[in-house]
């Protein structure tokens, strides 16, 4: 397991992220991991004096996850990326590209997500 990683609920996400900002952490990035069981692990990485602190939020694929870009503006790019590549439903992103930051209209949604979302999309296309 990675060091300094804390499991939190999505309800606590904003509180912990706000707390990190107050305590002088910079936002490094977020990582979305499709666990293949209908849930995502979303890891938020913060840094202070080159030491990482990580929050892990487990969300169901159909659930909404609030954006942290109102606290850390720089999160907007990775949140758009997770939204497009995994189909993670991140809400209220500071600049929301509506699924077209990386992907064009012709491409399948959620190409990084595990099989089931891709299959559903293909069925939908037909």
């Amino acid at each position: 397991m990675i060091e300094n990683a804390f499991d939190i609920s999505k309800e606590l996400l904003h509180i912990e992220v706000q707390d990190s900002k107050i305590n002088g952490y910079r936002f490094v990035t977020a990582t979305c991991v499709d666990l293949g069981n209908g849930t995502f692990d979303v890891l938020y990485h913060f840094d202070k004096d080159l030491e990482l602190k990580n929050y892990r939020v487990n969300v169901k694929k159909e659930d909404e996850l609030p954006s942290i870009s109102n606290i850390y503006f720089s999160a907007l790019l990775v949140e758009n990326e997770m939204k497009e590549l995994f189909g993670l439903n991140v809400t209220n992103i500071a600049i929301d590209y509506g699924g077209h930051m990386l992907l064009s209209d012709e491409e399948l949604n959620s190409p990084m997500a595990k099989q089931q979302i891709v299959i559903e999309q293909r069925k939908g296309d037909k």
């Binding site: 490094v28 991991v33 080159l50 720089s74 790019l77 990775v78 190409p111």
Partner: protein, 358 residues
């Protein structure tokens, strides 16, 4: 009169790679900048899930030509941590030498592109003439000029002979001497200073809040360089992060210029101290678990997150590249700037779009 929207890129003489910006203008002043990327997205993170963990070294090297060696280094360090592998000391020093050669050619490439961006073609030519010497060293020591493919899980694939190391030390000294001549132009030329001083000021607090990394952060007074944590052989070398405080385009140029000399110094220190011995250890078994590996690339810190499951395939490989971290700074620097300064401002973050999109 309403605002005008000017599309900048994805094809533009100043952009080596495709980045598109929608610039909302009020006369000649930028009010808002919205980036659009996605032109060179190749889905490399997804590809690493279907290739074997040993093959991934070659994939991550192809994320970017300019810092390919350090992508492989970050990946290999991550897998080595997962597999509890202790690589030989000689391999650690070799990684430092090749990594600093990469930083050297990356910064020289950037300094040349900057000169080109403000129309100083002869300066561009002189800087790139020096960069060619680094490319020649790469070819001679690794067989490739761009993707040198020297990293392997467990150490390095190639060694350098004592003669080659001596030659590298001589050539990097020549580069330093040449750059000290050119430095006068970057530091004191009226036209160069006019295009850089006070342009795109990013103060320390905003740079930190936006998560700026590398020379972008250090030019704004943030003393942050991941090499100081001592990975590879950096812990045995003597150096301090290069920091400037003005936070403008001139400060960012000075940081990269001084880091050229720093890389020369680090290469020479590593050559002096490199121990004899093996260059790799055998790799047995499969990686399992999660790890985060970080390395200081020329553009700043790169982060690799690896999740392995005890098989030959990884569950997830996530890469946060330095340009990805520095784009938000661009969105804060551009509003309020003149349209004519956009090329220089984009260049000062040293954008690597291939890295950003993977």
């Amino acid at each position: 009169m309403g605002n005008t929207v000017i599309p900048f890129g994805p094809q533009h003489p100043v952009l080596p790679e495709p980045l598109h910006l929608k610039l909302v203008m009020e006369d000649e002043v930028i009010v808002e900048a919205i980036p659009a990327i996605g032109y060179v997205h190749r889905g490399l993170e997804k590809l690493t899930e279907v290739k074997e963990f040993t093959q991934n070294v070659f994939i991550v090297e192809r994320i970017c030509g300019i810092c390919s060696m350090m992508h492989a280094q970050a990946y290999c360090q991550g897998v080595e941590t997962l597999m509890n592998l202790q690589i030989p000391d000689r391999a650690k020093y070799l990684r430092v030498i090749w990594a600093e050669l990469h930083r050297l050619h990356s910064h020289l490439l950037w300094l040349g592109l900057l000169a080109d961006a403000f129309g100083f073609e002869s300066l561009f030519m002189q800087v790139w003439r020096n960069r060619e010497k680094v490319m020649d060293i790469m070819e001679e020591t690794a067989g490739g000029r761009v993707i040198i493919s020297v990293n392997a899980i467990g150490g390095t694939r190639r060694d350098m002979s004592p003669e080659a190391l001596r030659k590298v030390a001589v050539i990097v000294d020549e580069i330093k001497e040449d750059m000290m001549q050119l430095e006068k132009v970057f530091m004191a030329d009226y036209t160069v200073k006019h295009r850089l001083v006070g342009v795109g000021v990013l103060d320390s607090a905003i740079a930190y809040e936006l998560g700026a990394v590398g020379p972008m952060a250090r030019a704004s007074g943030i003393k942050q360089d991941f090499r100081t944590t001592g990975y590879a052989a950096y812990g045995e070398l003597d150096f301090e992060p290069i920091v400037e405080t003005d936070g403008d385009s001139y400060a960012r140029t000075m940081v990269r210029l001084r880091e050229v000399y720093q890389s020369v110094d680090l290469i020479k220190q590593a050559i002096e101290k490199i121990p004899d011995g093996e260059i790799s250890v055998p790799v047995k078994g499969m990686p399992n678990g999660e790890v985060i590996s970080r390395v200081e690339q020329p553009r700043g810190e790169v982060l690799y997150y690896l999740k392995a499951n005890g098989t030959k395939n990884l569950d997830r490989l996530r890469i946060r590249t330095p340009t990805f971290a520095n784009i938000p700074t661009l969105l804060k620097m551009l509003p309020g700037s003149q349209l004519a300064d956009v090329p220089v401002l984009i260049l000062t973050i040293d954008p690597c779009i291939s890295c950003t999109e993977r």
